[in-house]
């Protein structure tokens, strides 16, 4: 069985994230890491493998991104993935979700016939939550998304999730694209043994040429959307802060709410 986990290298959310002059996300100047939300995907892939002790299961982590993005794959290998693929090509910079999903789909096809393509619920930078659905469309697979609980037996998968209007149980058959939320269970930390073992695991780099993707199909100039402007939100003007003493806080808050016509 083949599980491919899509992991993204993202700027650290607690750092000062910013844009470049061409309005693309600054991915070089800000410290990056494996998106926390994709750690959950790696974890679920590893759990699926561990539950299938009597089967041969290969977990391959794949990322598309700049040179440093290989760190995201390394982390997945340290956690326990078997192999890694880094799609790295100058031309990819500035790609939108449509192009990212194209390159990911080609990379997945090159890795081999997947049974499960595992994704996070969203990337922590762009956060569109659309790449899994786009991948499913491109690969012609069903998508079972936003899983809080994942169970599988043979080629059947069942998940539980909190939908907008209902709690749902969704069922589907492999091959499929599966995405998991941060409710799906804590991701493991790499052990010392895992970190050492990761150094010997296969890690391949693909260029666009390896995938048969033309440079003009991806990147900023091929994007199907164009950013016109990015603007930092004006800082909020400092508000009034009062210390509560014997009920004074409540009185002051009520006055504030009344002055703003909320009561």
């Amino acid at each position: 069985m083949n599980i491919v986990v899509c992991v993204k290298y993202v700027p650290d959310a607690t750092a000062d994230r910013r844009f470049e002059s061409d309005n693309t996300v600054d991915r070089e100047g800000v410290d990056g890491l494996l998106s926390e939300l994709d750690e959950y995907a790696v974890e679920q892939a590893l759990q699926m493998k561990e539950k299938r002790a009597d089967e041969e299961v290969t977990v391959t982590a794949v990322t598309i991104g700049p040179e440093k993005a290989v760190d995201a794959v390394r982390k997945a290998l340290q956690m326990g993935a078997d192999a890694g693929v880094h799609v790295s090509d100058e031309a990819v910079a500035g790609s939108d979700a449509v192009a990212t999903s194209l390159v990911l789909a080609k990379a997945i096809e090159k890795i081999g016939q997947p049974d499960v393509v595992m994704c996070g619920m969203a990337s922590t930078d762009a956060g569109m939550s659309v790449v899994p659905a786009m991948l499913a469309e491109r690969l012609g697979l069903p998508q079972v998304t936003m899983a809080a609980v994942v169970e599988s037996q043979g080629d059947q998968v069942r998940i539980k999730r909190d939908g907008d209007t209902a709690t749902e149980v969704i069922g589907g058959r492999m091959p499929m694209v599966l995405s998991v939320t941060d409710q799906s269970g804590e991701a493991r930390y790499p052990s010392f043994k895992g970190i050492m073992a990761a150094k010997k695991k296969p890690l391949e780099t693909y260029s666009l040429g390896d995938l048969g993707v033309d440079a003009d199909q991806v990147g900023l100039s091929a994007a199907w959307t164009a950013v016109e402007e990015t603007a930092a939100r004006p800082p909020r003007t400092a508000g009034e802060i009062v210390k509560d003493e014997d009920g004074s806080g409540a009185t002051a808050l009520v006055e504030f709410l009344a002055s703003k016509k909320f009561i």
Partner: protein, 317 residues
Amino acid sequence: MSEVLVLVDHVDGAVRKPSYELLAIAKRLGEPAAVFIGGADKAAAAAESLKGYGADKVYVVDDAEVKGYLVAPKAEVLQQIAEKASPAAILIPSSAEGKEIAARLAIKLESGLITDAVDVDANGVTTQSVFAGNFTVTAKVTKGTPIITVKPNAASPEEGAGAGAVQEFAATVSDAAKGAQIVAAQPRQSTGRPELTEAAIVVSGGRGTGGDFDSVEGLADALGAAVGASRAAVDSGWKPHTFQVGQTGKVVSPQLYIANGISGAIQHRAGMQTSKTIVAVNKDEEAPIFELVDFGVVGDLHTVLPAVTAEVEKRKG
């Protein structure tokens, strides 16, 4: 003028407010044409309400082949309508499901996609709020039929009758699209309070509640507000995940957000930072949430909130 398709979000035929907001935006771009995918018996009533909010046309698609499956069939239906109607744009509510439908549709129609718009102007230029609300981005689709998912509260619904011409549309759904099935669904119990993402006021509680949400809920009810929670409160099992505000929960942008016993981590901010007015009650004056507030009280929420609630009730009379 070209049609602008609006995918209608409804629960068993009852149209949800964001669909009316989308119709108001559609009017800026062309002729609003609602797409109602639902039970045949619910269609007439739904079409009537959509007409009341400006729909010039209502495509009615019987959901017999759609119901019970995830996303893919709806994307096929929209593709088929779009190929017939050649719309100027397609607007979809920015829910998790809406974004996935839009994603598949973008690939099918080879069209650009913009998600989570908080505004769309008459030229199709969208406004989005990114990086936990720290940046505002304006953008435009440059290829194909613009597909835009729009967040709740991006526009005010506009009452006023459209032509409301009902057109039954017979869509065909492929077997391939039926790969993911809804095996069971437990509809959410109504809390009797406003929907979190649509509410004008949200009162939320975090770890600082210690698990006792009574005073948070008391204030919410006095103000007619929705109740929210931080992830710490959800992870502790005090509230279901559907209450969570933040990066991996709901993103809200109400007129008033009151954070109680919430420290203000970046992931929580991502879900509430664009609220018009922000208030916090926290006993630690160093809590980062105070950097955001218009008004803050340094104090114990268990004494401050009940006192506020009592005074609000008194003033309401």
